[in-house]
C-alpha cells in the first residue's frame, strides 16, 4: 500500500474521529450542566441517583460503557443492533460518560461562586434564571475553563476507544492497516494525527481563555 493511500484512509478515519469528538462535546457540555443541577438538587432522591450515576461513569472503564450501550439493547430487548446504531451508541456512550465528568467540573465552579453575587443580583431584581445565566454561569465558565480543557484533550484521545465497537474512526483503521501490511507506520501516522488535533484543540482553548481574561 502506498503512503498516499494509507494517508487518505487514515484521513477519512480522522474525520470520523472528529465527528465523535464534536458531537460528544455538543451533547455532553449542556447535559453535564443539567446533571450538575441534579447533583446539587434539594431533592435527596434525585441527588442520590445522580451521585450514583456519576460514580459509575467515573468508576468503570469507558470502553466497557461503550460495549454496554451498544450490546445492551440486544441482550435486554432483542433489539436489532448494528448498522447506524453503532455510531449512535458511540455518541450516547461518550456523551453520557463525559457529561458525568463535566457535571463535577460545573459543580465545583458553581459552588465556588461567592454568595454575594447572588445577593447583589437579587437586590437588582434579577430573576433566578437571569441570575444564573447572566451573572453566575459566565463567571463559572471562566473559572472552570482549565479543567474543561483537560477533559477535552482527553476526549480527543478517548475517541480511539471506538475501536471496541469496530467503528471506522482513525485508530480502528490504523489497526486494520497495520495488521494487513504488517507495518508500524500507520500507528506513527495516527499518533501524529492525534497530536496535531490536540495541538489545535489546545490552541483554541487558549484563545478562549485569553478572550475571557479581560476581567479577574
Amino acid at each position: 500500500m502506498s503512503l498516499s493511500v494509507m494517508l487518505s484512509q487514515l484521513g477519512s478515519g480522522m474525520l470520523k474521529s472528529m465527528g465523535i469528538f464534536f458531537l460528544t462535546l455538543i451533547f455532553s457540555l449542556p447535559l453535564g450542566l443539567l446533571v450538575s443541577f441534579g447533583r446539587m438538587s434539594k431533592n435527596a432522591i434525585l441527588r442520590t441517583i445522580v451521585k450514583i450515576y456519576i460514580s459509575i461513569m467515573r468508576g468503570t472503564p469507558l470502553m466497557l460503557q461503550l460495549l454496554v450501550v451498544y450490546f445492551g439493547p440486544y441482550f435486554l430487548f432483542g433489539m436489532n443492533i448494528g448498522g447506524s446504531y453503532r455510531f449512535t451508541a458511540i455518541i450516547i456512550g461518550f456523551s453520557v460518560n463525559y457529561a458525568a465528568y463535566f457535571a463535577e467540573i460545573y459543580r465545583s465552579g458553581i459552588e465556588s461562586m461567592p454568595v454575594g453575587q447572588y445577593e447583589a443580583a437579587k437586590m437588582l431584581g434579577y430573576s433566578k434564571g437571569k441570575t444564573f445565566f447572566k451573572i453566575i454561569l459566565p463567571q463559572v465558565i471562566k473559572r472552570i475553563l482549565p479543567s474543561i480543557t483537560n477533559e477535552v484533550i482527553t476526549l480527543v484521545k478517548d475517541t480511539s476507544l471506538s475501536f471496541a465497537l469496530a467503528y471506522a474512526e482513525m485508530f480502528t483503521i490504523a489497526k486494520q492497516i497495520a495488521a494487513k501490511e504488517t507495518s508500524f507506520v500507520p500507528f506513527i501516522v495516527a499518533a501524529i494525527f492525534y497530536y496535531i488535533f490536540n495541538l489545535v484543540v489546545a490552541l483554541a482553548m487558549e484563545r478562549i481563555e485569553k478572550k475571557l481574561s479581560y476581567y479577574q
Binding site: 461567592p114 454575594g116 445577593e119 443580583a121 437586590m123 431584581g125 434579577y126 459566565p138 476581567y215 479577574q216
Partner: protein
Amino acid sequence: MKLLEMKHISKNFDDLEVIKDISLSVEEGEILSIIGPSGSGKSTLLRCATMLETIDSGEICYMGERAAWVTPEGKKVYPRGETAKKIHSYFGLVFQNFNLFPHYSVMKNITDAPIHNQKRNKEEVYEEARQLLAKMGLSDKENAYPCQLSGGQCQRVAIARALALNPKILFFDEPTSALDPELTGEVLKVIKSLADLHIAMVIVTHEMAFARDISDKIIFMDKGVVALEGTPGEVFEADHDRMQEFLGKFRR
C-alpha cells in the same frame, strides 16, 4: 405614611437570638444611622429589611404595604409576583464588599438591571447612568471593568448601580470598612452628596463623626436590641453606660 416600618422583628440563627423584638421606622428622605458593637445584629437587621434573611416574627412594611410578616401560627409570609416586584423596587442595598459583577463593565453593571429587569428605555437609562457616574466622579471609567478600579471607585460604582434603579430608600452595610482609610473619605463624601437627592438612607457604620454629621436619627444597637434611639445629639451625649463605653473605643 412611613416609607419603612419594621414592627417587633426578631431573628434567630438556630438557638442564637440575633434580633430581639426591634421596631423602627424611616420617613421618606430621612437618614438613619445604625451604630453598635460588632455582633450586635446590625447587618442582620439590614438583611431582614432587604429580604436577604427571613424574619422569625414581626412585620415589615414599605409604603404602608406589607412586605413580610409572620402569622400567629408562625408561618412566614412573603408576597410574590407583582407585589414582590413593587416592594423590591422601593429599596436598594450597598454591600460592604461591593459585589459588583466582574464580567460587566462599569456601564453595564449600572444599566443592565434598569434596562432588562425594569424594562426601561435604553437611551434614558444610559443618560441617567452617565449623570450618576459624573456625580460619583467616575465619568472616565464607564468602560472600565471592576478589577481595574480601586476599592473606593468600586464602592462608588456600586452606589451608582443601586441608585440607577431609582429606589426610595438605600441601605448601606458598612460601606467603607473594606476600604483603606485614605479611600474612605471619597465614599463618605459621595454618600453625603446623596442627601439632596431626597432619598432615604439607612447606614450601618463605624464612622462616628460621619454618622453624627449626616444623620437625622441614630440607633444604637446592642445585643440584638435598640439600646438608644434619637437625634445625633441625644444619642452621642446620652448618659448611657454601654453607649459611652462603645464611644470610648473610638476616642482612643
